[in-house]
Symmetry: C2
Subunit: 113 residues, 2 copies
C-alpha cells in the first residue's frame, strides 16, 4: 500500500465525499448510462425518494464531483454532468466492480448477515 498520512488521509477524504451507498450508486449511473443525467432519470434508475436523491446530488455538486446545468428556463429544469473530478472516480468504481464480481454471493444477496 502506498504511504499515506492519517492526518490528511486520501481514503478518509474520498469517503467524506462518497458518504454512503447512494453516493456510489448515483455516480455509477453516470458511468453506466452517460455523463449527463436528469433528476427523473436518476430517480427512475435508483428508486430513491426525491428528498434523498436531491440531498445527495447537492452534496456531490458541492464536493465538485457533479455539475448542475439548466437545460430549460421555463420551467427551470436541471441536468447533472460529471466534472473532471467525477470522471476520475471511474477507476474506484471499476475496482469495486472487480471485487464485487469475485464474490457474487456476498453483500445484498447474502441475507445471513
Amino acid at each position: 500500500m502506498k504511504n499515506i498520512s492519517r492526518a490528511n488521509c486520501p481514503i478518509r477524504r474520498a469517503t467524506d465525499i462518497l458518504t454512503d451507498q447512494w453516493s456510489f450508486l448515483i455516480l455509477r449511473e453516470f458511468f453506466l448510462e452517460g455523463e449527463t443525467r436528469r433528476f427523473k432519470d436518476l430517480q427512475n434508475e435508483l428508486g430513491l425518494p426525491p428528498n434523498t436523491l436531491s440531498n445527495r446530488l447537492k452534496h456531490l455538486e458541492n464536493a465538485g464531483v457533479l455539475e448542475r446545468k439548466l437545460y430549460s428556463s421555463h420551467p427551470p429544469r436541471a441536468e447533472y454532468v460529471l466534472t473532471e473530478m467525477g470522471r476520475r472516480f471511474g477507476p474506484v468504481l471499476e475496482a469495486m466492480i472487480d471485487w464485487g464480481t469475485l464474490y457474487p454471493d456476498r453483500g445484498s444477496t447474502n441475507k445471513s448477515d
Copy 2:
C-alpha cells in the same frame, strides 16, 4: 465501464459490506500496519468508541472480509486478520488513494460543504 447488472450489482454489494467510512478506515489499517490487528491497536489508530469498532468488526467478520482468532485463552483475547477476500479489497483502497491524492483540498479538509 464494464457491463454490470443493476439487479445483482457488484458495486451495491461491495457497499453493502463496506457500509460506511469506518469500514473503509478499519480495512485501511490492515494494509498500512500489517494483516493482523488487535482490537486495542485499531482503537488507538482510529479513535473509535469501542462499541462502534466492535460492531463494525463483527459486520466485516460476518461478511467474510476479516477473520477473528483467539491469541490468548486466559483471559480470552482476539486478533483480526484479513481473509483472502479482505486482501483482494486492496485495489479498491489503492484507487481511492489515487483519487483522494489528486484532490488534496477536498473532503475532510474542505469545511465549506
